[in-house]
């Protein structure tokens, strides 16, 4: 958990200084992809706490979920149906589930 927070802070600092900009048009897609990535990260932390962490599953989940969420949002926009709701709902629910399990593990440890 601590290592993840440190990583995110480090990443934000690095991202603030590197000169990459995405087009504002893709803003909504990126937000959904970020949600998927956060979900994968929480899943990874949870798996680590439960001592069944698998690096392949973790990395493939991270990129796969992000790409799927991005694609879903994009296709939804093209079809005129807000399909990204599906991603927001699924990943949001799982995010809170994972977080509650992480919390329990952490509290048990103290």
């Amino acid at each position: 958990m601590i290592i993840a927070i440190i990583g995110i802070i480090l990443g934000v600092i690095v991202g603030y200084y590197i000169p990459i900009t995405a087009s504002g048009v893709f803003s909504i897609y990126f937000s959904v992809a970020i949600l998927a990535a956060i979900d994968s990260l929480f899943g990874g932390i949870r798996a680590n706490l439960e001592e069944r962490f698998d690096s392949i599953i973790f990395i493939s989940g991270f990129f796969g979920n992000s790409i799927l969420a991005f694609a879903l949002a994009y296709i939804g926009d093209q079809l005129g149906v807000p399909l990204y709701y599906a991603a927001v709902f699924a990943f949001g629910t799982r995010l809170f589930n994972n977080f509650s399990i992480i919390r329990r593990h952490m509290l048990k440890r103290i």
Binding site: I3, A4, I5, I6, G7, I8, I9, L10, G11, V12, I13, V14, G15, Y16, I18, I20, T21, A22, S23, G24, S27, F30, S31, A33, I34, A37, I38, S40, L41, G44, I45, N48, F53, S55, F58, I59, F62
Partner: protein, 240 residues
């Protein structure tokens, strides 16, 4: 233990990537996209701005009316005393009438022009907004038939009036107008009606395309004046 530290390293790297994406996204949203606010607040802001501009417009319109009445009072006051000014005022009224700066009424026709009535049996995406050339033709026909005053949705058609599509509205006298268009024309009602209703004329063309057109003869039609100012910046009078 070694495997555990490898896991931590992996989680750390992935979180760093996530952090980079988040900060890039943050910069984009805070930067130029929607001026830093999310779509819903932006919508609210635009809505508020729109309402306040509408209110402002109404205030300005009433101000125009006020000054107009004041001006009329001054003119009539002055003309009462002086014969010359009285003559000039009469002349001025005449030119105002010619230019479309006076409310007028009289016999004429009223045409209601609207989009096709929604009908499940025939789907159509015809939109009168994109057929502004037909509205132009209609106005042209009315002028040809001797209309003395024409207005569309209470926008008086004068010498500088434009009729053109801009966005999802038809702009007339630089004011966006939406269907239904109520076109009023003062003149000989039978001539006007005959001119637009002739076979293969403009009304039948519009009806053929599916638009709703209704032409009504009327003994009393009121047409409002042009509400604006014409400025001549380039044209100068030739003296010879």
């Amino acid at each position: 233990m070694k495997k555990k530290s490898k896991n931590y390293l992996l989680i750390g790297i992935i979180s760093m990537i996530l952090g980079i994406i988040i900060s890039v996204q943050f910069r984009v949203v805070q930067g130029n996209f929607l001026e830093g606010s999310n779509p819903f607040t932006r919508l609210q802001e635009l809505n508020n701005a729109y309402t306040s501009v509408l209110a402002e417009r109404d205030v300005l319109l009433s101000e125009i009316d006020e000054y107009q009445t004041k001006l009329n009072e001054i003119e009539s006051d002055a003309s009462r005393d002086n014969y010359l000014i009285k003559n000039l005022t009469n002349e001025l009224e005449e030119y105002k009438l010619l230019g479309g700066f006076l409310d007028v009424n009289g016999e004429g026709i009223q045409i209601i022009l609207d989009n096709p009535v929604n009908d499940i049996s025939k789907s159509s995406d015809a939109n009168i907004i994109y057929e502004y050339d037909l509205i132009n033709i209609l106005v042209n026909e009315l002028n040809a038939a001797g209309a003395e005053a024409i207005s569309i949705n209470d926008e008086r058609i004068i010498s500088i009036s434009e009729i053109r599509t801009a966005g999802n509205a038809v702009v007339i006298n630089k004011v966006p107008q939406y269907p239904p268009f109520i076109i009023k024309a003062i003149g000989s009602k039978t001539t006007l009606e005959g001119a637009v209703n002739q076979r293969f004329g403009i009304v039948s063309t519009l009806r053929e395309m599916g638009y709703f057109v209704e032409v009504k003869k009327n003994d009393q039609i009121e047409i409002l004046k042009y509400n604006g100012i014409i400025e001549f910046n380039y044209a100068k009078t030739l003296k010879n």
